[in-house]
C-alpha cells in the first residue's frame, strides 16, 4: 500500500466458522475469513458459490445459522444496527432508487446512521454529501432524478451514498454489473483512490477475474461455499487454481499493464496449437 498511512481508528472484520443458509438451503459451511484491515479484498468464484451470501453475512444482512461475524472483536449481531452502520457501509447487489428521487436526496440518505430520530441536518452532513459527490464526479448530476441517469452514472451515485456514510469499512456486492468496461475501470479506480487516500478497508464481490487480480491486495477464491485459495493475486493465481475453482482450463499470463496475473480461458473452440502463430494457423487450414 501507499506510504502516507492514514490516521484514525482501524476497524476489523472477520467471520469464524460461518454456516450460512437461505431457508433450509445451506450455502456456506464452516467458513472462516479475515478481511485485511486497510486493504482491498476481492472475492471471486463461480455462480452460486456463496460469495454474495458471505458478503451479506459479513455486513450483518444475513444472520448466520452457525458461527459468528466479529466487528472489532464484537459479535456483530449484538452491536446495535445503527452503530454498525457508522463503521461499516454495504452497497447491496440491486438497490432500488425510489421514483423521482434526486441525486442529492439519495446521497444524503447515506447520512441516516449519523442522525438519529430527531437530530437536525448539520454542517458535517453537508460536508460528507458534498465530498461524496465531488469524489464520484456526480456534482453536475446533483439535481437530476436518479431514474433518468445512465447505468454508469447511477452506480456512481450509489457509491456516493455509501461514501456519504463515511465508514471505515466498505463492502460492495458486484458493483460493476451492467457497467461497460470503461465504467468498470473507473469505478475500481475510484475504490482504489478511496482506499489509498482514506485507508478505507474495502471488500468487493467481483465477476471479472482479470480486474479482480489487478485491483486486489487480497484475493479470495470460493467454490461451493468454501474458500479454495486466498492471498496476494500474484501468489495464488495459477492455472491449477483456476481449474479447481472454475472447472476451466486457462493460461495465466502476466498482465502487461499492471504486472498482475491475467487469466486467459481455454475453451473447446478457437484454440491454436501451442506453438503456432496466427499466420501458421491460417496457412494450415488453407
Amino acid at each position: 500500500m501507499t506510504d502516507d498511512e492514514p490516521t484514525g481508528t482501524r476497524h476489523t472484520l472477520r467471520g469464524e466458522h460461518l454456516r450460512l443458509a437461505y431457508d433450509r438451503r445451506q450455502v456456506v459451511d464452516d467458513l472462516s475469513i479475515d478481511i485485511p484491515t486497510g486493504g482491498v479484498t476481492m472475492i471471486i468464484g463461480p455462480n452460486g458459490c456463496g460469495k454474495s451470501t458471505l458478503l451479506r453475512a459479513l455486513a450483518r444482512l444475513l444472520t448466520p445459522v452457525g458461527g459468528t461475524v466479529y466487528l472489532d472483536g464484537r459479535d456483530i449481531g449484538t452491536v446495535p444496527n445503527r452503530e454498525v452502520a457508522t463503521v461499516l457501509g454495504i452497497l447491496p447487489q440491486s438497490p432500488v432508487a425510489p421514483d423521482g428521487i434526486t441525486v442529492t436526496d439519495l446521497v444524503s440518505r447515506g447520512r441516516y446512521p449519523h442522525q438519529g430520530w430527531f437530530r437536525k441536518w448539520n454542517a458535517e452532513d453537508d460536508d460528507a454529501v458534498a465530498e461524496a459527490l465531488a469524489v464520484t464526479s456526480t456534482g453536475e448530476l446533483a439535481d437530476r432524478p436518479v431514474d433518468q441517469l445512465s447505468g454508469g452514472q447511477r452506480q456512481r451515485v450509489w457509491i456516493a451514498m455509501a461514501l456519504a456514510q463515511r465508514t471505515d469499512l466498505l463492502l460492495l456486492d458486484e458493483p460493476t454489473t451492467y457497467l461497460d468496461l470503461a465504467n468498470q475501470v473507473e469505478l475500481l479506480d475510484l475504490l482504489t483512490d478511496l482506499n489509498r487516500r482514506s485507508g478505507t478497508t474495502i471488500a468487493v464481490v467481483l465477476h471479472d477475474l482479470n480486474l479482480a487480480c489487478r485491483y486486489a491486495d487480497h484475493l479470495v477464491a470460493m467454490r461451493a461455499g468454501q474458500i479454495m485459495a486466498e492471498g496476494k493475486p500474484s501468489e495464488i493465481v495459477t492455472p491449477e487454481m483456476i481449474k479447481e475453482v472454475f472447472r476451466l482450463d486457462a493460461d495465466v499470463l502476466r498482465d502487461p499493464v499492471s504486472g498482475t496475473p491475467m487469466i486467459v480461458p481455454i475453451g473447446r473452440h478457437h484454440v491454436a496449437a501451442p506453438t503456432a502463430t496466427i499466420t501458421d494457423e491460417v496457412e494450415n487450414t488453407a
Partner: protein, 356 residues
C-alpha cells in the same frame, strides 16, 4: 476521514455544495407548492359542500356562520348538518389516503391498499356481525369495526410470517382473507331482518349521510394521535423503499420499523373505516396520485392525505347531487371510479415485471 491539504487551501467541494443547496431548495419549493395547492383545493371544495345543499347558502354567510355569527337557520344547517359531514369526509379521506400510501410503500406494491388486502372487509364483517347479530348501532358499530380491521391485520401478518414478512405474500394472503370475510358478510346478510340488513348494507358501502359530530370527534382525536407517529416514522419509510438490504445497511431495524409502520397504518385505516364504513378504493387511488404529484422519492404523506380528502369530498358532493339517484352512498361512487383503476393495475402489473 483524514484532512488532506486541499481542504486547507480552499473548499474543493464548493461547486457540489452549491448544487446541493440549489437542489434542496428546489425540492422544498415543489413540496410546499403541491401542499398549498392541494390544501386550497380541499378548502374550496369544502366551502362548496357547506354552501350547496337543499338550500344554497352564500359563501359570505358560510364564512360568517363558521366565525360564530350565523343566524339560527344557518347555524343549524351548517354547524349541525353540513360541517360535521364535510369534516368527516376530509378526515376519513386523510385517513384512507395515509394508510393506503403507507401500506403500498411498505409492501412495494400499488395493489396493497387496505381495501384490496382485506382490512376493510374485516371491518365490514365485524360491523355486519355487530348490526345484524348483536343489534349494535351508532358508535358501537364503529368500535367493533375497528377491532375487525385490527384483528384481520394480525391474522394476515401471522399467516404471512416466514422469517420476516414479504410484501407479495402478505397481499396474496390478504386477498384470500378478503374472500373469506366477504362470504362471512354475505352469510350474515342473508340471515338478517330486512331493516337491519339495509342498515348494514349502507354501512358496508361506505356512507357519509347522517354523519354528525359523534363520528367526527373520535376520528379527529384518533388521527391527532396517530398521524404525528406516522410523520416521525416517515423518514424510515423512504429508506425502506430502497430495499431491505440497503435500509438495514444504513442502520434501519427493518422488521421492527416495518411492523410499527404497518400497525399505525392499519390503525388509521381502522378508525377511518369505523367512522363511515369502507369508502371503496379511496386508499387505493390516493397514494399513487399523491406519489405521482410529488415524485421526489419521499413518503408523499401530505399529498396523499390531501388527495384522499379531495376524493372523498368530491365523491360525496357528487353522490348527494346526482340527479335521479338520491341517497347514493359515497362508496358506490368511489367504487365506480376505483374499480377500473384496479383492473388497470392488475392488467399492467405483470407485464411491467413489477409483480414481485
Amino acid at each position: 476521514m483524514s484532512v488532506d491539504l486541499q481542504t486547507v487551501v480552499a473548499d474543493p467541494a464548493a461547486a457540489e455544495r452549491a448544487a446541493i443547496r440549489r437542489t434542496r431548495a428546489g425540492t422544498r419549493t415543489r413540496r410546499i407548492t403541491i401542499g398549498v395547492v392541494l390544501a386550497a383545493a380541499v378548502a374550496l371544495v369544502g366551502a362548496v359542500a357547506l354552501s350547496v345543499g337543499e338550500s344554497v347558502i352564500s359563501l359570505p354567510d358560510v364564512l360568517s356562520t363558521l366565525a360564530g355569527q350565523g343566524s339560527r337557520n344557518t347555524n343549524y344547517v351548517i354547524l349541525e348538518l353540513r360541517l360535521p359531514r364535510a369534516v368527516t369526509a376530509i378526515l376519513v379521506g386523510i385517513g384512507f389516503g395515509l394508510s393506503g400510501t403507507v401500506i403500498q410503500s411498505l409492501l412495494g406494491n400499488p395493489l396493497a391498499s387496505p381495501d384490496v388486502i382485506g382490512l376493510s372487509t374485516g371491518a365490514s364483517a365485524a360491523a355486519v356481525l355487530g348490526i345484524v347479530v348483536i343489534g349494535l348501532d351508532g358508535i358501537a358499530v364503529s368500535v367493533i369495526a375497528l377491532f375487525g380491521a385490527l384483528l384481520t391485520a394480525a391474522v394476515m401478518y401471522v399467516l404471512a410470517w416466514r422469517d420476516g414478512v414479504s410484501g407479495y405474500r402478505l397481499i396474496l394472503i390478504g386477498i384470500g382473507l378478503a374472500a373469506l370475510l366477504l362470504s362471512v358478510v354475505s352469510f350474515f346478510m342473508t340471515r338478517a331482518q330486512v331493516t337491519s340488513a339495509s342498515e348494514a348494507l349502507v354501512w358496508i358501502s361506505g356512507s357519509l349521510s347522517g354523519r354528525n359530530w359523534s363520528q367526527a370527534v373520535p376520528l379527529a382525536v384518533a388521527l391527532a394521535v396517530l398521524v404525528p407517529v406516522l410523520a416521525v416514522l416517515s423518514r424510515v419509510l423512504g429508506l425502506l423503499g430502497m430495499g431491505d438490504d440497503t435500509a438495514r445497511g444504513l442502520g434501519v431495524p427493518v422488521q421492527q420499523t416495518r411492523l410499527a409502520l404497518l400497525i399505525v397504518a392499519v390503525a388509521i385505516a381502522g378508525v377511518a373505516t369505523a367512522a363511515t364504513g369502507p369508502i371503496a378504493f379511496v386508499a387505493l387511488l390516493a397514494g399513487p396520485i399523491g406519489r405521482t404529484l410529488s415524485r421526489d422519492g419521499g413518503a408523499a404523506l401530505l399529498p396523499s392525505a390531501l388527495v384522499g380528502a379531495l376524493i372523498v369530498l368530491i365523491a360525496d358532493f357528487a353522490a348527494q347531487h346526482t340527479p335521479g339517484l338520491p341517497l347514493l352512498p359515497v362508496g358506490v361512487l368511489t367504487g365506480a371510479i376505483g374499480a377500473p383503476y384496479l383492473l388497470f393495475l392488475l392488467a399492467t402489473m405483470n407485464r411491467a415485471g413489477r409483480g414481485g
